[in-house]
């Protein structure tokens, strides 16, 4: 009976230390690629992106009890990573402003040989962070507009507007301006 009581409920993260660690490692491993990519698009710097992912996982490990369902892990870790990034930005305010760094050489830094991918990346770096970030959360991390609104502390309407404008700007930069109609309503 006691054994039954101590069993973790399905879908929850609450077991003994060893089991917790194993489950956390499995969960974390699955999320590392997405987190690294999101971090890279936040900070433009792959070394810093690795640091952010590592710090995110350490913080997540320390506060694992606050994660009630594994299904929410992606969003939970994304939020922690974003907070880490904001903290890092705060620390660097007096030294190097990340927004002042030049655009990365996307071919060299991310290994993309595909011309189209290269062109799209260049265009995406030209978006301001307020447009690029919700787009990354939606397209890369698979977040809903409601989730993005909560993470960025914006209204859902604002998120929708930013996503719409981000795509319009990208279409313009990529020479896909056959349909101007969308821009008139932005």
């Amino acid at each position: 009976m006691a054994e039954e009581r101590n069993k973790p409920a399905p879908g929850t993260v609450s077991a003994g230390m060893g089991a917790n660690q194993h489950r956390f490692e499995m969960l974390a491993r699955a999320q590392v690629p997405g987190l690294y990519r999101y971090a890279y698009w936040l900070c433009r710097d792959r070394a810093l992106a690795e640091d952010l992912v590592q710090e995110t996982l350490l913080r997540a490990w320390r506060s694992l009890d606050s994660l009630r369902e594994e299904a929410a892990a992606r969003r939970w870790l994304t939020t922690i990573l974003r907070n880490e990034f904001m903290r890092e930005i705060g620390k660097r305010r007096d030294t190097v402003a990340i927004d002042d760094l030049p655009l990365p050489d996307t071919r060299a830094s991310v290994g993309g040989a595909d011309t189209d991918v290269y062109d799209v990346r260049r265009a995406m770096w030209k978006l301001t962070p307020e447009y690029r970030e919700p787009l990354a959360l939606q397209v890369l991390m698979g977040c809903t507009t409601q989730e993005i609104a909560e993470m960025l502390e914006l209204t859902q309407g604002t998120v929708l507007t930013r996503l719409h404008r981000a795509r319009n700007q990208l279409r313009e930069m990529l020479g896909l301006t056959g349909q101007q109609f969308g821009e008139e309503i932005a």
Partner: protein, 239 residues
């Protein structure tokens, strides 16, 4: 159902190309132009998704999750009785960690060569790399590693901020007389005297540079001595 106009449909699709909104779907059934718009948006999103998926460094999951770093940060506080023993152990581990993070002498030379030979980095010394003509990009890399280079630097074919024993360093490759030469600006690694590098076909030096050091290493016949003089006078630490 609310009537959805072309304006409404495009606003929705521009924000959420995968939208399953019933009103938008109904509108698309009767509007060829908006259907084409929806198709364009989905196509754009496919390109965006590919572009967002930058290469993840090989083995990153293992490095971060399985290298023991999580195990070294237990979630639960130990009983207070273990505190004294933990403190003593912490001092010992800190010393070991410092040695690990700041290797000296032959260990440092070995670490530098290992970094150059790392599968993620080895393409940096490919002989056919093009010159980086954007000086501001190189400047950005140097800034990111807490370094500066008076008068800039010519003939750079590779420039990245890398993690080297937990610290951010500038990893540059320049065209030498006989092939690529790697230069690593190690702001956090002080050496008292020049450390020779001779390992795995690579040769060069790690020279003192104020509170840090500079590694100049190559695997071809380019002499590194002229670069020692130049770099010693040009490199500065900005952080």
């Amino acid at each position: 159902m609310t009537v959805v106009t072309c304006l409404d449909a495009r606003r929705t699709l521009g924000a959420e190309p995968q939208s399953r909104d019933a009103g938008v779907a109904e509108h698309l059934r009767g509007c060829a132009a908006c259907t084409a718009f929806a198709r364009d948006m989905l196509s754009l999103d496919g390109r965006l998704e590919r572009a967002f998926r930058v290469d993840v460094p090989e083995g990153l999951e293992a490095r971060i999750v399985l290298d023991g770093s999580l195990k070294n940060h237990p979630r639960r506080f130990r009983p207070w009785m273990a505190a004294a023993a933990s403190a003593a152990m912490a001092v010992l581990l800190a010393g070991l960690a410092y040695q690990h993070q700041h290797p000296q002498g032959a260990a440092l030379a070995d670490a530098v060569v290992k970094h150059i030979e790392n599968p993620e980095e080895v393409q940096a010394i490919a002989p056919d790399r093009a010159l980086i003509r954007d000086a501001s990009y190189i400047q950005g890399v140097l800034q990111g590693a807490g370094a500066g280079m008076q008068g800039g630097m010519d003939d750079v074919t590779y420039a990245q901020v890398c993690l080297f024993h937990g610290e951010r360093v500038a990893h540059l490759v320049v065209r030498g007389q006989n092939g690529p030469v790697t230069i690593m600006l190690l702001r956090h690694t002080h050496v008292d005297k020049t450390v020779p590098v001779d390992e795995d076909g690579f040769h060069g030096v790690i020279i003192p540079a104020g509170k840090g050091s500079i590694a100049i290493v190559t695997n071809n016949a380019t002499p590194v001595q002229p670069m020692e003089t130049e770099l010693t006078s040009k490199v500065e630490w900005t952080l």
